[in-house]
Amino acid sequence: MTAPIVGAAIRRKEDFRFVTGNGHYTDDINRPGQAYAYFLRSPHAHAKIKSLNVEAARSAKGVVGVLTGKDLAADKIGGLICGWTIHSKDGSPMKAGAHPALAVDTVRYVGDHIAVVIADSPALARDAAEKIEVDYDLLPAVTTPDKAQGSDAPQLHAEAPRNTVYQWELGNKKETDAAFKSPAHVVKLKLTNNRLIPNAMEPRAAIGEYDQGTGAYTLYVTSQNPHVARLVMSAFIGIAPEHKLRVVAPDVGGGFGSKIFIYAEEVVCTWASKKVGRPVKWTAERSESFLSDAHGRDHVTEAEMALDAQGKMLGFRIKTIANMGAYLSTFASSVPTYLYGTLLSGQYALPAVYVEVDAVYTNTAPVDAYRGAGRPEATYLVERIVEEAARQLKMDPAELRRKNFVRTFPHQTPVIMNYDAGDYEASLDEALKLIDYKGFPARKVEAQKRGKLRGLGFSTYIEACGLAPSAAVGSLGAGVGLWESAEVRVTPTGQVEVFTGAHSHGQGHETTFAQLVAGRFGIPLENVEIIHGDTNSVQFGMGTYGSRTAVGMTALVKALEKVEAKAKRIAAHVLEASAADIVLENGEFKVAGTDRKLAFHELALNAYTGHKFPTHEIEPGLKESAFWDPLNFTFPAGCHICEVEIDPETGVTKIVAFVAVDDFGKVINPMIVEGQVHGGVAQGIGQAMLEHGVYDPESGQLLTGSYMDYTMPRADDLPSYKVGLTETPCPSNPLGMKGCGEAGAIASPPAVINAVTDAIGIKEFEMPATPERVWRAINSTKHKSAAE
């Protein structure tokens, strides 16, 4: 028996093409006769368009078309949609303003789309766009969530008074208020979750192509979920019926959520390809990515936690304002609600939680799901306030957590979620060991001798993945179910093709999905091909986000089960035995207890040969498909600990150790899982230490619009991480897996900031922990203590 392939650190099948420069990303594709699109964008944060004159651009050199919002409206092309209806406390549905793909009379953020110029080359399109005359009537702008609801704030959409999209609540209010009646301790915290700009390294791109003969469109696009793009563009935007619209998402260079959404550019390129009679290609420049990719986070929150004298948590009360930007992006409304409020119980047996969230419009780029989506915001809040509670109660932060951990499963929280399995203490203990917690006081003293400040911070996080049980999300307002599908085709010569609705843009599905197939059938990995990202080959799928590949993989397992069952029936006929006696071992179908057998490829050939078995009893062929709707969310959880050393003279903060111990349930490929943790933690440390999307509060200009101003984590900004795994299998899917893509980004920011505040002894501190902020914080306490 060879070593099991599922669970092994198999090297990735997809890597050969990437390391040799043979990947096929959207911008690598050129279609015959293609023209190039350039989008004229608003330079103002808020303005009425008094007049728009495109005539000079139309007659410029190389131009094949200039199109505006009026042309879209004339063709009855609908606006962009938000697919999740949130209801306010009073029962009313959210108040959303229109979101045309090209602005009609008002622009609402810097980068908002006004017109598209299509020309023979990108340079000619850009040259011509300079000839467009726009006359603006400037309006005041508001950019931050805390200012958006003010009576003096400018109104963005008539539909949403005071810029308020919804006022949502979740939890048991009465019990929560009661918990705050006379607790021994109340811990209060005010914090901001800083705006982030996702910055997948591949900029977004789209090529629309119209076939005059068939009347069908093809869109090549940087998408995490091509089927969803097709559905939305067909059913809601009205480009073409689904069977006349093919969406292809080839190799995609990272997404992190930002490529889930249906954007103006891809809609316009597709529609315009028919108008100009040529394929239309657009590739974002990085500055356009900064301006127009959906951003992440941007919350302001006030919260308080009640605890008894022994440190038992009694209640948790939260008020958050979430910035939606200028329009509601595809899934924006769900992020600060069902992906946020539902995780506010953390790993703790909290009897009472009540959260209120106001979502507001501002003159900034739309905000939507970014790696973790809502769950990092929840974790940042919970883990910071718990750490603060430990300090206030003078308890060890690990012990305070331990005291409050959920220990029996299933556990129903006051905020919808039903945790199915976990062992939070196991991850905490492992992390304490890896960081050498006992040695920390000595390290702190040693650092002090060198004039440095050491601090240690915890984050014991939980998240909900495997999005999502369709009935559950449907009852909460989701416009679609979140099942996944897979189809398995065995070729007559015995290779296996898998068609999956999950999309891979760095996650290594071509390897992990193949491991499941090879492991089950005992065939070599090279004989398995994973096909994804094309609506013409894959029957249907919801794509990849929310660490939901557990869903896609389960669909695959279900399809494999069907293939195996049918293969056994065929084998039984060929080998003249009963199907119940057929066993599949090491790639061979055997009659148990005999030497009669068929190799996998022999079986495959038999399945297509037809005269070997009664085809009126068993259909010829070997191809099965399955849809899987998850039974529950999955709940990855774990403990991250960060140790920092700060130079009080300069405020420079160095992460000297970072430990991540995660429980992802069963793991298919530990190498890939570890890589996902590394990448997630890097993004989390980026948020905590470096990254911040900043708009000028007056002009609404994006001040961090390039890599010169927005600090991306680089190799020498980051430490080496120590990664550990604990395991409680997930009971709600047959593989026992939970998902691992987002944990790092969710868990790490509070660990870093808790370490920083521990080192400098300050409670109120906002991300990112730049040297300037840290230095100022240190010096503000110095002055205070000097004054006392």
Binding site: F18, V19, N30, A200, M201, G253, M708, A715, L718
Partner: protein, 158 residues
């Protein structure tokens, strides 16, 4: 339009370009060597790194005309006779890539780094990667891959 000729991956090539055409666009569009990527517009990300006359260069920072007469190597020219270059093999072996978009630039930077600095340690590798951004891997496995490749190539030279 001005003409330009150079040797790319050992082959003589020539073409006509607008004066403002960047080397990266000449490689990608005229020669259809799409392994070299464009990740930014401010010379910050390194997705476009190629070798010009044996040195790592950000090909978005150079006009095609400036490379007239030069020897250029792109990611497509690194593997010889279907055999991966040790740096390519190390990226695969140590999971130094996820989405693969930064990878060609990372590998071309690493090959140059190993050539210039035969004794690489983790800190030096991290500093030397200052000009290359990766959003997926958190860099740890890239650093590991480069270190492993540098040791292997040193062994091969010894």
């Amino acid at each position: 339009m001005p003409g330009v000729s150079m040797t790319v991956n050992g082959k003589a090539v020539s073409g006509e370009v607008e004066a403002r055409t960047l080397l990266v666009h000449f490689l990608r569009e005229n020669l259809r060597l799409t392994g070299t990527h464009v990740g930014c517009d401010t010379s910050q990300c390194g997705a476009c790194v190629v070798h010009v006359n044996g040195k790592a260069v950000k090909s978005c920072t150079m006009l095609a005309l400036q490379a007239d007469g030069a020897q250029v190597t792109t990611i497509e020219g690194l593997a010889k006779n279907g055999e991966l270059h040790p740096v390519q093999a190390a990226f695969k072996e140590h999971h130094g890539l996820q989405c693969g978009f930064c990878t060609p630039g990372m590998i071309m930077t690493a090959v140059d780094m190993i050539r210039r600095l035969p004794d690489l340690d983790e800190t030096t590798i991290r500093q030397q990667l200052e000009g290359n951004l990766c959003r997926c891997t958190g860099y740890q496995n890239i650093v590991k891959a480069i270190h492993a490749a540098s040791l292997e190539m040193k062994g091969a030279r010894a």
